[in-house]
């Protein structure tokens, strides 16, 4: 059987007056049922755009210019809006970064939960309410009945993110795409929310695509990792192996910059320089100006993602 979600050679462009900019350049990965994957990279690497591209919700003027997105045996990348709606919030749910901004301030939690269910199923309001309550209990929300009548501003950030997770669970989706779900939260709440997400995905057999810049979080929650740099996946493999034996110099640098990866008292490692902007990607390997190992070939030829060692795929000439 093929994978639940199979993304092949995805390319996303943003149409600007000065010409199109490529934000995602030939990204491929797959997700099996119940599998948890991390999509890691710096800001601007194209993680979020990849996530939004899957449910075809890229902000204008972005569009999918090439590639295929295969989900539950169907090609969904070219679905018309009507058909795409039956997937969004139903088979694939999303969790956004900032729970303070995600819920509509003028409607109650109950209203926003029930409408989601009613958009996808032909059920009565009381049935929808019952399901909403059940999901609120599932995310361990204290006094769930009371929450339904409350407005978003009456709840804390952590509570709101639990509500949003509950909303994403409403229709029993096959995949949850979580875009930096804990970045806007306190550190203590972050751990709670991550534990909750992991537990839910395990119990409910849901696939998780965790988009984050936090390698620490990814290594605890996911089974495999894709590292993105300047719109490309440059390393892809099982989480254990990538974290402990990374291949690509960029991934090595990323892991070296995490506190705890080095002896106390020593300076953390830094990757010199900055990721190039999309309009200004250097020829060859996009990482070559910052790379310690860069050789002549790196500035001339773009490396392809290929099997290196221990089941890790990486795009590097030097390894």
């Amino acid at each position: 059987m093929s994978s639940l979600l199979e993304v092949r050679d995805l390319e996303v462009k943003f149409g600007l007056r000065s010409g199109d900019i490529t934000a995602i350049d030939g990204v491929s990965f797959e997700l099996d049922p119940g599998e948890r994957m991390g999509l890691v990279g710096e800001s601007g690497a194209g993680k979020s755009v990849t996530g939004f591209a899957i449910i075809n919700l890229i902000s204008k003027p972005g569009y999918i210019s090439r590639g295929s997105i295969h989900f539950e045996g169907k090609e969904i990348s070219a679905y018309p809006p009507d058909k795409m709606r039956t997937i969004r919030g139903n088979r694939i749910s999303m969790i956004f970064q900032d729970p303070m901004m995600t819920l509509n301030p003028v409607y109650t939690i109950g209203f926003q939960m029930i409408e989601t269910l009613k958009a996808h199923r032909d059920i009565s309001k009381s049935q929808a309410r019952a399901i909403a309550l059940e999901k609120l209990k599932l995310v361990q929300m204290p006094s769930p009945e009371k929450r339904l009548a409350q407005y978003p501003h009456e709840l804390s950030g952590g509570m709101r993110q639990r509500i949003i997770i509950a909303i994403s669970l409403l229709a029993d989706p096959a995949i949850i795409i979580a875009d930096e779900p804990t970045t806007a939260l306190d550190v203590t709440i972050q751990a709670e929310i991550m534990d909750l997400l992991q537990e839910l995905c395990e119990n409910e057999k849901m696939g998780l695509m965790l988009i984050t810049h936090d390698l620490g979080v990814v290594s605890q929650v996911t089974e495999k990792i894709a590292v993105m740099y300047a719109g490309k996946i440059i390393e892809y493999g099982p989480t254990e192996t990538v974290v402990h034996h990374p291949v690509h110099p960029y991934t090595i640098g990323l892991i070296g910059s995490i506190p705890g990866s080095i002896e106390p008292g020593k300076d953390l490692r830094q990757i010199p320089g900055m990721m190039p902007t999309l309009t200004n990607i250097p020829p060859g390997c996009a990482f070559n100006p910052r790379c310690e190992l860069a050789a002549d070939i790196c500035t001339r030829q773009t490396p392809v993602l290929e099997e290196k060692q221990n089941g890790i795929m990486a795009a590097c000439h030097m390894k």
């Binding site: 139903n90 999303m94 301030p105």
Partner: protein, 328 residues
């Protein structure tokens, strides 16, 4: 919610006291009521007596206190020598004409600005949006009296399909001679059309633009993107999620503008010879009926305060965050 309403009400009372104090202070500086009353041929001694009798020589605060007391307990705002009737009665009989003018204008504004503003936000590139936006610039920049005269020329003089002045046929709404309405007769409604259109040309473009820009801003928010991600239909995202948030600032502005419109009717009433409060005010200014002017200013201020208080309370119903702030 009740605490919120009470708080709002108390604020309104304080505002009214301050406004009436300011207006009342003007009285002291302008003209001499005794001269208005008795003319030139009365001796200074007799004038003093009359002034004493009327309490005009009392300290300012005593006079003001009496004014407020009479206004609150008896609804007495003084007497107009121009009409030789109590001021309040003069104002009340002139108010319906102005209120109906403003109501008709508000109706035109609501009915046109909501759909046009929302449409322009959703389809900014369509020809209808472009046309609306450029036409509204024209509306904003044309002064009311010019639009009014243009309308009169076209509809009343050239095509002769609508009347150009007055209220037309009116009927007594409550049977007590206070509220003569033009809303219930065909002739009265016909007379309303041109004044209402010319009064709305100023505010309508403003509201179309306001609704459009608010809506466009709301459409860019995270919660709208999230509404799409939940798989909701475009109708639901636009008309349920975006629209209500768009309305919040629009309602506030609308309340203030309705109040301002009462003042703007002055020009429209003059051009269309509309027998409303603005017309009455101009007459009072011409004849230096100071007592009526003061009463008018107090009444206008009061209607401002009432409208704004109602809008605030309405806002509290729509925006839950305001309600919470009010109860604390």
């Amino acid at each position: 919610m009740i605490a919120f309403i009470i708080r709002r009400f108390l604020q309104a009372v304080v505002v009214m006291l301050v406004i009436s104090l300011v207006v009342f202070a003007i009285k002291k500086e302008f003209g001499d009521p005794v001269r208005d009353l008795v003319g030139e041929r009365v001796t200074p001694e007799e004038r003093q007596q009359i002034a004493d009798k009327m309490g005009l020589n009392d300290p300012f605060l005593v006079q003001y206190g009496r004014f407020v007391k009479n206004a609150v307990t008896k609804g007495d705002l003084g007497r107009s020598f121009l009409y030789n009737k109590p001021n309040l009665e003069v104002i009340i009989t002139h108010a319906p004409a102005t209120i109906e003018l403003v109501l008709g204008t508000a109706f035109i504004i609501i009915v046109l600005s909501l759909p046009l503003g929302v449409y322009c936000a959703l389809k900014p590139r369509s020809w209808l949006s472009r046309f609306t936006m450029s036409f509204s610039t024209l509306g904003v920049s044309m002064p009311v009296f010019l639009t009014a005269i243009l309308l009169i020329y076209l509809f009343a003089v050239h095509w002769q399909i609508l009347p150009s002045y007055g209220r037309g046929e009116t009927v007594d709404l409550f049977g007590n001679g206070i509220w003569m309405t033009g809303l219930l007769t065909i002739d009265g409604l016909k007379h309303l059309i041109l004044p209402c259109i010319s009064l709305s040309t100023l505010m309508l473009p403003l509201f179309i633009r306001l609704i459009r820009s608010e809506m466009m801003e709301v459409l860019e928010t995270e919660y709208i993107k999230y509404a799409w991600a939940k798989g909701l239909s475009p109708r639901r995202v636009w008309l349920v999620h975006a629209f209500k948030n768009t309305l919040l600032p629009v309602i506030t502005v609308f309340g203030v503008q309705i109040g301002i419109m009462f003042a703007f009717t002055l020009l429209t009433e003059l051009v269309f010879q509309w027998p409303g409060m603005g017309f009455m005010f101009l007459e009072a200014v011409n004849r230096a009926d100071l007592s009526l002017l003061i009463a008018y200013l107090v009444v206008v201020a009061a209607s401002f305060v009432v409208v704004n208080t109602v809008v605030d309370i309405l806002y509290g119903f729509i925006n839950p965050t305001v309600r919470i702030a009010g109860t604390k």
